[in-house]
């Protein structure tokens, strides 16, 4: 019969390379930052951390404002961006995400305006609650978006990737809030940044281990370099914020490192998908093993 070893057609990839450009991982970062910041601002408001809440709402709104611009510019036909809202389609994480972003964005804008202007205070908790409610899935649906593809390094990480993205989003939100909030009012932001930074490191490590040989992109090439940068920044940021975060300069540096680590993680995941899709063996070998082919 045929050859026993896994084969390929002139070494060509089986899958097409992802067409997504830098805007998409950048959006994963801004969407995560926005969603977790909205959640943090709302939680802070409810718990009576008014200064923290007041400083964090604009972070959420700023990150949310950047998000649609990034997404639109990545489209092959940017002028058709509104077609994203033609349907509500549960089998398409991109469709679900477009609605989460739209509703969450409007709620965050409302919550921020109410908080900053003091107008219509009755609607503050409703808008803030909605912003937080839609902000939470905004941090994790992007993991489903990439996991729900044929790309092995993404798809086979489907159970852990949302946790890595949620942790990364929380770390970035904690970092950003620690930068913009006076140290005396920023204790919850520092706690969030440190704990989420550690969780981000742990979830990412668990993802790479769980992928086994499919995690090769995280060990070699561009994805590996970005993953290394992400780990170093996140670990440094969490340490700085945890140990010296009461000092303004250390809080700013630690927060910035957490943001950088979170951003690098999304670029690392995107690069890993690109490397994984380019490797025919990553597609063929697990499938052959599944079918029991020799």
């Amino acid at each position: 019969m045929s050859t026993a070893a896994p084969d390929s057609y002139y070494g060509r990839p089986i899958l097409k390379a992802p067409v997504w450009t830098w805007e998409v991982p950048a959006y994963f970062f801004t969407g995560g930052l926005a969603g977790a910041s909205a959640g943090l601002a709302f939680a802070a408001e409810r718990a009576g951390h008014e200064v923290l809440a007041r400083r964090t709402w604009p972070v959420a709104l700023g990150a949310l404002s950047a998000s649609p611009a990034l997404l639109v510019s990545d489209l092959g036909r940017p002028e058709r961006f509104l077609y994203m809202l033609r349907l509500v389609k549960p089998t398409s994480p991109m469709s679900v995400g477009s609605w989460v972003l739209t509703v969450g964005g409007l709620a965050t804008a409302a919550a921020t305006l109410i908080d900053r202007t003091g107008r219509l205070p009755r609607f503050g908790p409703v808008a803030g609650g909605a912003a937080a409610l839609f902000g939470l899935p905004l941090t994790t649906y992007t993991a489903v978006l990439v996991a729900n593809t044929a790309v092995p390094a993404w798809h086979e990480a489907r159970r852990i990737l949302p946790f890595a993205f949620a942790a990364s989003a929380a770390a970035s939100a904690g970092g950003a809030a620690a930068i913009v909030t006076p140290a005396g009012d920023a204790a919850p932001a520092r706690r969030l940044g440190v704990a989420a930074g550690v969780a981000e490191l742990a979830a990412t490590e668990a993802m790479v281990r769980g992928l086994g040989s499919l995690g090769a992109p995280y060990r070699e090439g561009p994805a590996a370099r970005l993953a290394w940068a992400s780990r170093a920044s996140t670990a440094g940021g969490a340490a700085l914020l945890g140990l010296a975060g009461r000092r303004r300069a250390a809080a700013a540096a630690g927060g910035a490192l957490l943001l950088a680590g979170s951003l690098a993680l999304r670029f690392s995941v995107m690069a890993a998908g690109r490397q994984s899709a380019a490797d025919p063996a990553a597609v063929v070998e697990p499938q052959r093993a599944r079918t029991g082919a020799p």
Binding site: M1, S2, T3, P6, D7, S8, Y9, R12, I14, L15, K16, V19, W20, L40, A43, A47, L52, L75, G76, R77, R80, F81, Y83, M84, R86, L87, K89, T91, S92, M94, S98, T139, T140, A143, V144, A147, N148, T149, A150, V151, W154, H155, R158, L161, P162, F163, F165, A166, A169, A170, G174, P188, L192, A195, A199, P280, V283, Q287, R288, R290
Partner: protein, 275 residues
């Protein structure tokens, strides 16, 4: 109505047709590329590179936004002959599989990709906004975004010709009937008979690919008879539609979001005891 795995009658009522597809019998493909030419010509698909690949007689390379039929050429020693004296041609005209469980269609956020009344999967160019999701969802690497245009394109199984009662251009042009067009039920029967004949003639390596409604894509609308392992032709050996695991993915995303909510609550409440 044929093909119980797609309820075309429920979706289309009177307009529903029997589900149609391709049976590509690679054992009688002669590598003439008439299918490639017919497809390009009928569908007005733009030129996508006149390259010399050095990969046998294949200068097309792979399916893509502007290549909807692709003839693969594999030069291999026969299994029972050692050394360079023997050579066996494998030729196969690849095409979009028009999956029953089509990941491209399921992930498409705009509804540009849809299921026709013939059971085929087609992109509507006037709706596609070029988000690129289908490209990474396809387990076969078929659909792609056309760089200069920005939208995604692939085989339509000649939707316009089907509407006019004609068979697709590639099947019409195929001189050996390697590409057979017809109702999927008939094609499956024909393919089963063909593979049994080949086995009886001693061609034990003949196998069907994509014909089984029980597989990871719930059966292809365009399936194949191959003479070697699928990966030799650049086909995935056991493709599974990614949306099969979507429930699992949303569950993980929900659990992660709830964990985040708990973490946020803990962060803002933790300091209170100390006060």
């Amino acid at each position: 109505m044929s093909a119980p795995e797609l309820p075309l009658t429920r979706w289309y009522g009177e307009e529903a047709h029997a589900r149609v597809g391709f049976f590509t019998d690679t054992s009688i493909c002669i590598g003439c590329k008439a299918c490639e030419v017919a497809c390009k010509t009928w569908n007005d698909v733009p030129e996508d590179g006149l390259d010399f690949t050095g990969e046998s007689y294949d200068n097309t390379g792979e399916l893509g936004a502007s290549t909807w039929r692709h003839v693969a050429f594999v030069e291999r020693p026969p299994a029972d002959v050692e050394g360079p004296e023997g050579m066996r041609w494998l030729m196969s005209s690849d095409v979009c599989k028009h999956c029953t469980s089509a990941a491209c269609l399921e992930v498409c956020p705009t509804g540009a990709l849809f299921r026709t009344e013939f059971g085929t999967v087609v992109v509507q160019p006037d709706v596609c906004n070029g988000c690129g999701y289908c490209v990474s969802a396809c387990p076969f690497g078929v659909i792609d975004r056309r760089q200069e245009d920005g939208r995604a394109f692939k085989c339509t199984l000649c939707y316009d010709r089907l509407k006019g009662g004609l068979e697709p251009a590639c099947a019409a042009a195929c001189p050996t009937d390697s590409i057979q067009f017809g109702a999927l039920d008939d094609l499956r029967e024909r393919a089963q008979a063909r593979v049994e004949t080949l086995h009886a003639e001693g061609v034990t390596e003949a196998r069907l690919y994509g014909e089984d409604p029980g597989d990871g894509i719930a059966g292809a609308g365009a399936f194949f008879l191959l003479l070697d392992a699928p990966e030799v032709y650049g086909l995935p050996p056991d493709p599974v539609s990614t949306t099969r695991h979507l429930g699992e993915e949303w569950a993980a995303a929900g659990a992660a979001a709830l964990t985040l909510a708990a973490g946020l609550a803990a962060a803002v409440l933790a300091g209170r005891r100390g006060r």
